[in-house]
């Protein structure tokens, strides 16, 4: 059914290729604190947008509540600043109804994993073609510093003066276990890499989840410094690249091997060569899960990059297909037919 929507949206629309990052900056101030990790996502996104090849009126950013939730105000596209925890649900309705749009979700660790946890896991499972950027600063920032579901056990915050009692979620684990076909992670101190991940997420058809470690300098400063600062980064992170062995270290002298289903960090040299190393396979969800487990092992570097990229038909396409199928098999339904139903009778 060609609808009014087509009529109103298909007028003089052209590709977005002549645009530049500047076209995506609206004329209002960015109101994050100077130095907030959120900028490190905003700029790469603005930069990448022209390459997306989608006209900006066909792009929508949906967010929840939190510092991260302000993101849509900083993008000169369509934007919807939803309520706390619900951006994935809102965006799902938008994308299912409007598969022609490029729909992005911006959320926080509290927004997405605390109040929004149910929509998150169902989003992963349902696989609507959304690009979800989760700003994980391991704290509730907008409400000024309470612990979040990703805060560390023992962390002192305004609501845990003697330390957090819970163990944190591993967002990558959750996404994989819930069925997300695309799962990645980056951190604010490497904007270049973030831009790569954003591009990958955008190109992936289906639910793409990108965890972005963004420092909140006010309420949880230096949360990721032990592995994201320039000087320690190479030794304490490993970048996952499809088809490539897991090498890390300043001197590229370390790597990860697989021992049964356990990961071990080794030094390249006499005992181990690059050929012994685990080779990353983005299409294996069990491997992705195992790799994400490195976070919990102090002996292992923190994994970043694309954990998983599975081909899986998105829900919104399935909906379209099912409708097409029904029309084909049952015939296109007319209103008259529906009104009359099977059991009507006539009075003359």
């Amino acid at each position: 059914m060609s609808t009014i929507i087509d009529q109103f949206t298909q007028m003089d629309t052209n590709g977005g290729s002549q645009l530049t990052a500047k076209d995506f900056k609206p004329d209002n101030d960015v109101r994050w604190c100077l130095g907030c990790g959120a900028y490190s996502v905003l700029y790469p996104v603005q930069k990448f947008m022209p390459d997306l090849g989608v006209p900006k009126e066909k792009i929508a950013f949906v967010s929840g509540i939190g510092c991260s939730g302000r993101f849509p105000y900083y993008m000169e596209t369509y934007g919807f600043h939803g309520i706390h925890g619900r951006p994935i649900a809102i965006a799902s309705g938008l994308k299912v109804s409007r598969p022609d749009l490029s729909v992005w979700v911006v959320t926080g660790d509290g927004d997405n994993m605390s109040i929004g946890g149910n929509h998150f896991i169902h989003g992963c499972r349902r696989n609507v073609d959304l690009n979800v950027l989760m700003f994980n600063n391991e704290i509730y920032s907008l409400t000024k510093g309470q612990y979040s579901p990703t805060s560390k056990q023992g962390q002192v915050t305004k609501t845990s003066p003697l330390g957090v009692l819970e163990t944190p979620f591993n967002p990558v684990h959750m996404a994989i276990a819930s069925g997300a076909p695309f799962v990645a992670r980056g951190y604010d101190k490497d904007r270049f890499h973030i831009q790569y991940l954003i591009e990958r997420a955008a190109r992936h058809k289906g639910f793409s989840f990108v965890e972005l470690l963004t420092n909140c300098l006010i309420f949880n400063d230096e949360a990721f410094d032990d592995f994201t600062k320039k000087d320690v980064r190479d030794d304490n992170t490993v970048n996952l690249e499809h088809g490539k062995p897991l090498v890390f270290g300043k001197e590229h002298d370390k790597g990860i091997i697989l021992d049964g289903f356990k990961l071990k960090a080794v030094t390249l040299g006499d005992e181990y060569s690059i050929n012994d190393l685990l080779v990353h396979d983005e299409t294996d969800s069990t491997l992705a899960y195992i790799l994400a487990g490195m976070d919990d092992d102090p002996e292992l570097p923190h994994p970043v990059g694309v954990f998983l990229a599975l081909d899986k038909k998105p829900y919104d396409e399935r909906v379209t297909d099912q409708i097409a199928y029904a029309k084909e098999v049952q015939g296109e339904g007319t209103l008259e037919e529906l009104l009359l139903g099977d059991d009507h009778w006539e009075v003359n």
């Binding site: 929507i5 929508a60 600043h81 938008l94 299912v96």
Partner: protein, 628 residues
Amino acid sequence: MIFFGRWTQITSIMELTKTKISELTVRFAGDSGDGMQLVGKKFSDALASTGIDLITFPDFPSEIRAPEGTLYGVSAYQLRLGSKDISTHGDEIDLLVAMNASSLKVNLPNLKKGGIIIANLDGFDKRNLKLAEYEQSPIDTDELADFKVIALDMVGEARAKLKEHGFPPKTLKKSKNFLALGIVYWLIDLNMSSTVNWLEKKFRKNEEALKANTSVLQLGWEYAEQQNIVETQFEVGNKHFEPGNYRNIAGNQAVAIGLVAASRKAELPLFLGSYPITPATEILQYISSYKKYGVKHLQAEDEIAGITSAIGASYGGYLSVTTTSGPGLSLKTEALGLAVMTELPLIVVDVMRAGPSTGMPTKPEQSDLNQALFGRHGEAPMPVIAASSPSDCFDMTIEAARLALKYMTPVLLLTDGYIGQSTEPWKIPSPAELPSLVKNLEVDKENFQPYMRDPETLVRPWVFPGMKGLEHRIGGLEKQDGSGKVSYDAANHQKMTDIRQRKIQGIQNDIPDATVTGPESGELLIVGWGSTKGAITTAMDRLTEEGYDVAHLHLKHMNPFPKNLGNVLANYRNILLPEMNTGQLKMVLQAQYLRDIIGFNKVQGQPFKASEIENKVKEILVGEEVMS
């Protein structure tokens, strides 16, 4: 033993005669597994298609399949049929089919003195009697002396019959409901062909089942005829139906169809985001079967995702809907505020059930009105409307869509479990007759601002992603008048609050005046809303016949009220307001019009009986209590 209360003519004994009746209440009752819903439905289809008016009322137990024979496991299907306008499913039963002892026990209190019982003896064995907490079979005692009892061993009779045809006995138990139905058909001398046709369709591929069922149905008829079970058959005249196409329709189905109709008339695609909940689930089920109509739906993980996904689709330019019942409505309240703030069109259907909390999920009530009107934090006004009968659900759904689209607002449509599941014959409109629906899609691109407004209606434009050059941001934070940018400005907040309120209040100018049935002024006005309409109408008919000075006003718009409402109320000395709650509409009317209103409140999970309203009116007017 037989006393035909309202029947007009009794002919001589011994010879089979016919009694013309204008109304009759029939109730099929048995175990959940006894197929009472099915025969009830088939019977009402047959009735309706021969021009008899009716209202049906399915009445299930809350258990999926309660243990056989128990009192709480009784499932029933009631209908009132007649040759004149029928507006309720009937207060008292004229004809009761009781497939077992429990179903007799549970329904006896509502059986009219002199009514007929068709009892399945098979269901009055020791086990069944014990489960029904009978010491002795009531059929053998004089407990039923006031009624005409037709008792037979349906399974035994059917067995004998099927043996003739050489059918295996396992088909037996399942078809005894058709035997009962055959008897009922004979009693009102109604052609069984519509039911036979249906059986033929259903068992197209199973000749044996077809033959078994049709012959058991036939057997019922024959049995009744040959045993001379009553001296007189009933004859129901036809109601004068206007020419046109008709079908039996339940409220939940009417909502589903109405949604599609509204979307077609608005030339907008339809989206439903919903989570199952009794008694609203059927709407979701119908919609999910409408794929060929191009309808999209999302069975969400919870009610919050139901409404927020619908808001997302509305933002995307769809006619968007979410459906639920009480507990689900509670969960949707936060998101309703978002729809108010973003001024997006959205239909929310609440099929009310008995509360509070989980309450009595399968029973109707009208106790969500407060929630609908006031159940949101902050100042979040939205239109609230209510449907008054199964078929009115169709009209009010279209009205909900009309208001939502025209005024860029969420609209709450209230129905309840009673009209949601009851059926009545409905004159099917042709698509062309249905009103076209206005949308706010035209914008002045040059001067575009997301919160620019029509100076009259105060409505903002609907601008959705894909519209070139109109990119903008909206959300739940307070916004600057016009620009829609986030604003914490004090004067602006006042202004926006006022605008949101005036916009909704202004709908007064776009809804019909309240009209009254009966005298335009006088002693007593019955004000009703929602599903009480049938009972009030029936009561009104009787009262008017008896010469009482009563008028009836049925509200469909609860926010805003019709403009003339205050004036109408002023014309009556007394105002009576029957509600299935403790007085929710009463409070709002009192607050708004400073009129003292007599509340008549029934919170029993049961619709009003016409007689209850009748008596209440008499009590007020005559000043003395009349026994019901």
